[in-house]
């Protein structure tokens, strides 16, 4: 009974947060209501005994992805946002319905995996979700784990190459920014004591 109540609470607030996120006129309010939805999705994951996924949901979605969204919104020119927002309602509803039916179909067709071997629901119940995932990830799935670091490395290179392109700056030794121009500048007059007193 308590589980049902909690499920309806988390699910209901998730849906409400998602609706506010797509209908709000203020895009910062949209991002913050998306944060509410993300945190309540983590609650649903905890109810499903998927504790590691819940922690990742909080760390990555509510932390990193939302920070990225907010930064993109702030980099966006606020005067241009009215040109783009709330003009795609029909396409959005169509795509939403299509994705919903695809997910329902996938959920209907998929068999429950993890019936045998070390990754069963029983093992999750006994050892805890994070420990089961850790044991599997660092033994059987070692190669995908190391490949993931390469993918992160490529993403890091891409971000630096893309975002660093607009910044033309003189580089001194060891890639540091050359600050030697400061010595060539004329001394600021405010450094003399008389000026400081006048400034006050």
């Amino acid at each position: 009974m308590a589980a049902q109540l909690l499920f309806f609470y988390f699910g209901g607030v998730t849906i409400a947060g998602a609706i506010v996120a797509v209908t709000s006129r203020n895009i910062v309010y949209s991002a913050l209501s998306l944060l509410v939805a993300f945190i309540h999705i983590a609650g649903i994951y905890v109810l499903l005994n998927a504790e590691f996924i819940a922690a990742v949901q909080i760390l990555v979605y509510a932390g990193a992805i939302l920070v990225l969204y907010l930064f993109v919104l702030m980099l966006f020119n606020p005067s241009e946002e009215k040109l783009y927002l709330h003009k795609q309602a029909k396409v959005g509803i169509f795509l939403g319905v299509v994705v919903l039916f695809m997910m329902l179909f996938a959920g209907y067709k998929t068999e429950i995996i993890g019936k045998g071997g070390p990754l069963t629901a029983q093992a999750v119940k006994e050892m805890g979700h994070t420990r089961v995932i850790g044991n599997a990830l660092f033994t059987d799935y070692l190669f995908p784990f190391e490949v993931a670091s390469l993918i992160l490395l490529v993403a890091m290179f891409g971000a630096i190459v893309l975002a660093g392109r607009g910044v033309h700056r003189k580089k001194g030794p060891a890639g540091r920014i050359d600050l030697s121009y400061r010595d060539k500048l004329p001394k600021k007059s405010s450094e003399t004591p008389e000026e400081v007193i006048v400034g006050r």
């Binding site: 308590a2 589980a3 922690a55 990555v60 702030m74 805890g128 995932i133 670091s149 660093g164």
Partner: protein, 123 residues
């Protein structure tokens, strides 16, 4: 969904969650009920250390913030891999240590690249 499966060791977190939620709701609601409502123009302005704001707060931020946000996302995802490794470290032993050192070495290449390119400088 049966009540047997409910993870009971998350109950304190749930209690804290609702206390935090109630704190915000009750504070705003009590203020709304108790405070006198005599609005005027200066009072309704956005608070900017006592002076009237002359521009909108929603200005365009410098593009360099994007790089910082992106690097934060990547290192955050790196931490997601460290978390199950730390939990099952006792079972993995030396082999686990070596593979995590390899993982971190690959990512440190990106870190030193960002350093060399001046992406971490902010002048």
């Amino acid at each position: 969904m049966s009540a047997v499966n409910l993870p009971s060791n998350y109950l304190p977190i749930l209690v804290f969650f609702f206390i935090a939620l109630a704190f915000g709701v009750v504070t705003i609601l009590m203020g709304y009920l108790v405070r006198p409502k005599r609005p005027y123009l200066e009072k309704l302005h956005a608070y900017e250390s006592g002076i009237l704001p002359d521009t909108d707060a929603r200005m365009q931020f410098p593009f360099r913030y994007y790089l910082i946000a992106m690097l934060f996302v990547l290192f955050d995802i790196e931490m997601v891999f460290l978390y199950p490794w730390a939990v099952s470290f006792n079972k993995l032993g030396l082999f686990g240590l070596i593979e995590m050192v390899l993982f971190l070495l690959i990512l440190f290449v990106g870190y030193f690249y960002a350093w060399r390119k001046g992406a971490l400088e902010w002048d």
